[in-house]
């Protein structure tokens, strides 16, 4: 469990008293994390930046409800995930029906295509974006932000058992979608 540093606690207190500069410093500290979470959730840089701004505005408006003894990062991630989920609901275009689209678009991608760096990243990202929102949020916080199960549970307001089951499910779905790539990667490791 990550607790806010003394400096961060002081910044939060000052921001809660209405100091914009203190809040800006907090934004600086957490901007990249929040941007990354939302981007991994929705897959669009511009949308991620807009949603991240909205996340911090909501955080500012509701800063009085934040309890300083808890992790500010987790609190912000919770708002960020909810903001991303709202956007995904509103803007279906961002969410591709990944695997189906993927298989239709790339019926038999050869090894060269699979190992083309850009193509590989695109395929993996599409597979991640095809996951159900709830599972995707858990996967993003674990794989890209490195949060522990307890931190994810804290951030999303769900039990640790639910974190485990959602993560298992997300990885199982991803393994099924990326089976061929995983096979090639394991083969490459063995060579």
């Amino acid at each position: 469990m990550t607790f806010p540093s003394i400096n961060e606690t002081e910044l939060v207190t000052r921001a809660q008293n209405g100091e914009r500069n203190a809040f800006s410093e907090l934004v600086c500290i957490h901007a990249q994390g929040v941007l990354n979470v939302i981007y991994r959730m929705c897959g669009d840089t511009q949308v991620a930046e807009d949603a991240a701004q909205e996340t911090f505005i909501q955080a500012w408006l509701h800063l009085s409800s934040y309890r300083p003894q808890t992790s500010l990062r987790n609190w912000l991630y919770r708002i960020a995930v909810n903001a991303a989920t709202d956007i995904l609901r509103k803007e279906k275009r961002i969410l591709p029906n990944a695997l189906e689209d993927l298989q239709l678009n790339d019926p038999q991608p050869g090894p060269e295509a699979l190992y083309s760096e850009g193509e590989q990243a695109r395929v993996i990202q599409k597979a991640v974006l095809s996951l159900p929102h709830a599972c995707r949020a858990v996967l993003v916080l674990r794989e890209y932000e490195g949060l522990s199960y307890h931190e994810i549970a804290d951030a999303l307001g769900i039990p640790v058992g639910t974190v485990m089951s959602r993560l298992n499910y997300a990885r199982k779905l991803l393994k099924d979608k990326l089976e061929q790539k995983l096979f090639l990667q394991v083969e490459a490791k063995n060579v």
Partner: protein
């Protein structure tokens, strides 16, 4: 090898297993090629995911400046709100004080009545200007006019005495209890709202 431990492999990979569970998984993995392969594919999957780079976002400083421009006025606590907040926390204190006052009043009243019935407080009741022993006024009057008599008169006198003392006490106690429970319910609802509602629950 039966009884595979695939459901624990994710937690094992993430370093979330401890104690006997971790030991059990490690022992099983040392002997089970199926679970070893499963763990290998999970590791590969994790590696693949990390190969997807994040795009270059706006720098943190510039982003913070953009956010700062869009920040609306924060709902900071005004003096009026602070007074309301203090008043809110004074409600249970006030209710407790009222409860103590009521109980003390009735206790003192009971003691005075008992003392008066035993004849200790004749001079005091004269000095106070009321008759502590006789708490039934209407039934006594009705008895004097012949409307009530015998058992009916006794019953009416008891009921009137009960209504004057016990019923009043019960009503006040129940009212205080209901007010306190209402305060608890509102406090709980506020806590819930602060914890969840304001976080833009999806």
């Amino acid at each position: 090898m039966s009884n595979h431990i695939t459901e624990w492999l994710n937690a094992y990979l993430d370093g979330e297993l401890h104690g006997s569970r971790l030991h059990h998984v490690e022992v099983h993995l040392a002997e089970c090629p199926v679970c070893q392969a499963e763990l290998g594919s999970l590791e590969s999957l994790s590696g693949l995911l990390k190969e997807v780079p994040a795009p270059p976002f706006t720098s943190s400083e510039r982003f913070a400046a953009q956010v700062n421009l869009r920040l609306p006025h924060q709902q900071t606590a005004t003096p009026g709100k602070r007074i309301l907040e203090v008043g809110w926390w004074m409600i249970p204190v006030g209710l407790l004080g009222a409860w103590i006052l009521i109980n003390t009043s009735f206790l003192v009243s009971d003691i005075l009545s008992a003392a008066n019935n035993l004849g200790f407080l004749v001079s005091v009741s004269d000095w106070l200007g009321f008759d502590l022993s006789n708490q039934a006024y209407w039934s006594t009057t009705l008895g004097q006019f012949g409307v009530l008599s015998g058992n009916s008169l006794n019953w009416a006198a008891s009921t009137e005495a009960f209504a004057r003392t016990s019923l009043l006490e019960i009503t006040l106690q129940v009212s205080i209890a209901l007010l306190y429970l209402s305060w608890i319910a509102i406090w709980w609802a506020r806590q819930q709202r602060q914890g969840h509602g304001q976080l833009l629950e999806g």
